[in-house]
Each structure stands twice: as C-alpha cells, then as structure tokens.
C-alpha cells in the first residue's frame, strides 16, 4: 500500500521526556519527532509506555523531565484542553465516548472549541446560537458521511457494538479538525473486515485532510502497511526508530518484541 506524499518539517518534537509514577519509570529519556503529514506508529510490548507517551503529548500526564515542542511552541506542562485548542485530538484504548449521548451529540462535542455563541444567545436559541448549531451540524454530517455511520446518528452510543463505537470516537476526534491526531489502538478487538475499514479511514484522513497521525497498534501487518515510520518502545525506553523495513530488520526490536518468524 504505497502512497506518496511530501513529508514536511517536524510538527511535534519530544525532548528527553521522563515520566514516573511513584518510583516506577513509565518513560525514561524518550526523544522523538513527528513530521507534518506523517503517519507514525508506536509499537512495543504491553506496559512499554506507549499510552503514557500519548498522554504526555496531550497533557493528561505531566512529564517529570523534558520538553514537548508542538508547532514551534515549547512547553513543559499543559492541560488537556489547552492541547485540544492547539489542535491535538485523540482516541482512547478503552473507548472514552459519552455513553449517555447520541452519536450526533458525541461528534458535536468535538466542535466545542470552534463554537462562539454567548451564553445569552444559547438560552434563547435564536440568531447566533441557532445558526452556529446548524453550521457545525453541516460539518459533523460530512464526518458522519465520511465514516458511513448515517443510520446510527440518533442512537445513544452506549447501545452500539464495539467496532462502531471506535468509529464514532474517531469521528469525534475528526470533528475538531486536528493538526495532530493520536490514535490509541484504533483496531484493537476488531475483526479483519473492521480493521480494513478502519485502516482505510486512517489513510483517507491522512490523505484528504493532511492530518498528521500518531497511532499505537499491536497488529504488525497493519502497522507495517499504514505507517511511514515506526518507533519502538520497551520498558519506557526507545529502542528503535525508522521505516517499517528498517524496524523489521532491527535486532533489538526483534529480541524485545517482534520475535523470530518461523
């Protein structure tokens, strides 16, 4: 699955990041960079610190050491909603949708940061507030079309099967029109067909909107096909960084994670 795009300058750089929980080092001295328009995969055994890395990028965890530079601005700490307003969106390993709300409302929440109507206008729901709702509804419907979930838009997400929930969660992240999209195991627990659909969505997002994507995935077939570059973590340290082909032949990575193919 070759696709050629011009990869730009680094949009995100992490420098010497360390993170620990009560003496346990989740990440130690991890440095990496993500270039614009790139699909970067992070792989590694369970507990290697992959999710922690994403959590540092969008501000859920604050690193004990090191800096994160996103779109030229360097910072040691920030809150998740600040990350969101700078254009970082994500999905979660264990789906984190708003279970009591419909698919439509869930995806609409992704537009929150782009909505401006004041409190008063919302109370009376005329003028600005109403127009704004409708304008953003158009955008959300585009995403619903893109993900082919038209028929379930009024269904509460709690009732949906797992695969669809994952898709809705991707929709919510896309609604924010992020520059950087973090996907935490987007294909975990899916069957082959669902994986193919999801892979197609990821590639299309990357192609059509030019969104930079960082994803964590265990399915090596998917990782090798989708990604431009792969980073390997083990025990909180980076042990590999390169194109899929380079990673496949990296001895450290084979020892720690990939194993030997028979």
């Amino acid at each position: 699955m070759e696709h050629s795009r011009s990869l730009g300058e680094p949009i995100l750089s992490m420098d010497e990041i360390s993170l620990s929980f009560g003496g346990v080092n989740a990440l130690s001295n991890v440095s990496l960079h993500v270039r614009e328009h790139e699909i970067l995969a992070i792989i590694g055994p369970n507990g290697a610190g992959k999710s922690s890395l994403l959590n540092v990028i969008n501000g859920v965890y604050h690193p004990s050491k090191g800096t994160v530079t996103f779109k030229g601005a360097t910072r040691a700490q920030m809150r998740p909603h600040e990350a969101a307003s700078q254009g970082i969106a994500r999905t979660f390993q264990n789906i984190a949708l708003f279970k009591g709300m419909t698919v439509l409302d869930n995806i609409m929440t992704g537009r929150t940061l782009k909505m401006r109507a004041g409190f008063f206008w919302q109370c009376i729901y005329v003028g600005k507030a109403r127009n704004e709702e409708i304008e953003h509804r158009h955008k959300v419907e585009e995403i619903i079309d893109f993900l082919q979930i038209q028929s379930i838009r009024k269904t509460p997400v709690g009732r949906l099967p797992y695969g669809l929930q994952k898709r809705v969660e991707l929709g919510r992240a896309l609604a924010a029109e992020p520059d950087l999209l973090l996907l935490d195991e987007p294909m975990a627990g899916m069957n082959i067909e669902e994986k193919e659909d999801m892979s197609r969505f990821v590639l299309d997002v990357n192609d059509e909107f030019g969104t930079t994507i960082v994803l964590i995935e265990h399915d090596m077939g998917v990782v090798m096909d989708l990604s431009d570059r792969v980073i390997v973590l083990d025990y909180g340290r980076k042990i590999g960084d390169g194109t899929p082909d380079e990673i496949r032949s990296n001895q450290d990575v084979i020892d720690a994670y990939l194993g030997v193919t028979h």
């Binding site: 929980f21 999710s51 959590n55 859920v60 979660f92 390993q93 264990n94 984190a96």
Partner: protein
C-alpha cells in the same frame, strides 16, 4: 490549660461516637459501594428497639441481655430484608440510585420504628456509671473533669474497632469482604457469594449502629434526634475518606474535638450554634488541600 484540656477531652469523647456512626458508613461503602444514608435511621431504630424491649422485659431475669439478644436478631433480619428487597433488585444500578434507595430505607425505618415502638423520649439505663471523674489533680490546678460515661463509651468503641479490625484481617469472611470491596465482579467470579457478603456487612453495620445507639441513648435519651447523628458523621467521612476504617476513627476524633473547641472558643465571637455547621466547613476546607481525605487512596486516572 485545665479547661482547654477538659473541652478537648469532651470533644474527643463525642468524636468517638461520630467515629462509630462513620464506621457503619465506611463498612457498607467499602463492601458494596453504597453510600448508606440510612445509618442514622438504623441507630435510632436499634436504640428504640432496645430501650422498649428492656421496658417490656424488665421483670425477666436479665432484661439487658435478653433485649440485646432480641435487638441483634432484629438487626440481622433487617439486614436480610435490605439485601433481599433493596440491594438485590437494584444490583448494577448507578451509585446515585442506590443512595436514593437508602434514603428511602431511612424514611421507612424512621416511620416503622416510631409506629411500632412509639415516638417519645425514652431514658435508657444500662448501668453505665454517670459520676464525673476528677483526674490529674496533681498536674493541673483544678484537675480535669471527665465524664465516666464518656470513658466507658470510648472503651467500648475501642474494643469494637479492634474486634472489627481482627475480623477483617484474620478471618475468611473478612478476606472475602476485602475482595468484594476491591472488585465486585472479580470477587464473584472466584466464587464469593455477593449477596451473603452484603448481609454480613449490613448486619455488622447494624450492630455498630446498635452500640452507637445505646451509648448515645443512655447519654441523651432515646429520641428521634438520634436519627440525625448520621448527618453529624458525614463530615467525618470526608475527612477520613469513604473507604478507610482508620480514617473514620481519626476523622471522628478530629471533628468531635474541633466542634467542641470551636463552639467554646469561637462560638461566642460569631453568635453561637456554630457546631451545627463547623464540622462541615472544617471538612470542606480540608478537602481543598487533600481531595482524597486523610487516608483515602489517590486514584490515577488511566485513559
């Protein structure tokens, strides 16, 4: 110095009773995740049953022991009924629904207790000595006046807590209880009968309520206001953490002492009656610095 220590001790003794009520809350919350608002109603119900039974049985050979035994049976039956009629139909409901259900239980028990046993003030005498003791005359000028009733109460509470600690740490049922507290489904999957555990915890909470009811009742008379003690015990929970037995005890002592000291030294300055809310504000101020309470666990949000 003498008067200050007197007030402090009186406060600590009152705190012991708060601890007892808070303990009932904590036991149930730990084992079933239910915030049991009916704990106060249970105190009233147990104390009412006990005092009235004592009256009816006063001509038998051992009115205290007999009525104690019968009240214990009543509390066990109550636990069984609560499990069967409330907890079982509501299993897997959100915590708020269960909380509301316990409010329902509280209303029901208040009504039931008073319609069966009457709603007057009943004096309760189980033979706790009432004379105040004068201690440390050699250390302080006028000595320190301590109510012997309070001392007995503290002693009983201490024994009860120690007994519970042993029960939880050393017995098979205790281990099962702790497993259930950790994870309901996991505990069930290794064959711990959830319903049985709930009955046990509610029984234990009922017995703790009975002890608290007897002690408070013999101090103030058994009356409806016992039911409101529960409200006094809530700040203790914030302070000590909903899931910590030790927290309930220490929290109770802090709240009791703080309340009495503030009433004595701060009250006159701002109009009196502040013990009505002081505990809450104290607990709230504390929360802002330690949201998980004194001994609660810090939960790391995993996403």
């Amino acid at each position: 110095m003498g008067p200050f220590i007197e007030v402090l001790i009186a406060g600590l003794m009152a705190g012991v009773l708060y601890s007892l009520v808070a303990l009932g809350f904590v036991l149930i919350f730990k084992a079933s995740g239910v915030f049991n608002f009916a704990q106060g109603a249970m105190v009233l119900f147990a104390a009412l049953s006990f005092v009235r039974l004592m009256e009816f049985l006063q001509n038998t050979f051992a009115p205290i022991l007999l009525s104690l035994a019968i009240t214990i049976v009543i509390m066990i039956v109550l636990a069984l009924l609560v499990e069967r009629l409330v907890l079982r139909p509501l299993v897997n409901q959100p915590p708020i629904s269960l909380f509301m259900a316990t409010l329902g239980i509280a209303y029901f028990l208040d009504g039931l207790g008073q319609s069966i046993w009457g709603s007057d003030i009943y004096t309760l005498d189980v033979g706790i000595p009432k004379e105040p003791l004068l201690l440390f005359e050699s250390v302080f000028e006028d000595g320190i006046l301590v109510s012997s009733e309070d001392l007995v109460a503290a002693l009983v509470a201490g024994v009860l807590v120690a007994g519970l600690a042993v029960f939880f740490q050393r017995t098979r049922i205790g281990r099962a209880l702790r497993a259930v507290a950790d994870d309901h489904q996991a505990a069930q999957s290794v064959g711990i009968p959830l319903n049985y555990i709930w009955v046990i915890v509610w029984t234990v909470a009922g017995l703790v309520a009975l002890v608290a009811g007897i002690i408070w009742g013999s101090k103030l008379g058994v009356q409806f206001s016992l039911s409101l003690i529960a409200l006094k015990a809530l700040p203790v929970l914030i302070l000590g953490g909903f899931e910590s037995v030790l927290g309930a005890i220490i929290g109770g002592l802090i709240i009791g002492a703080g309340e009495k000291l503030s009433e004595t030294y701060l009250g006159p300055l701002i109009g009196g009656g502040i013990e009505y809310w002081f505990a809450y504000v104290l607990a709230l101020a504390f929360l802002l610095f330690r949201p998980q309470g004194l001994f609660g666990e810090v939960h790391i949000d995993r996403v």
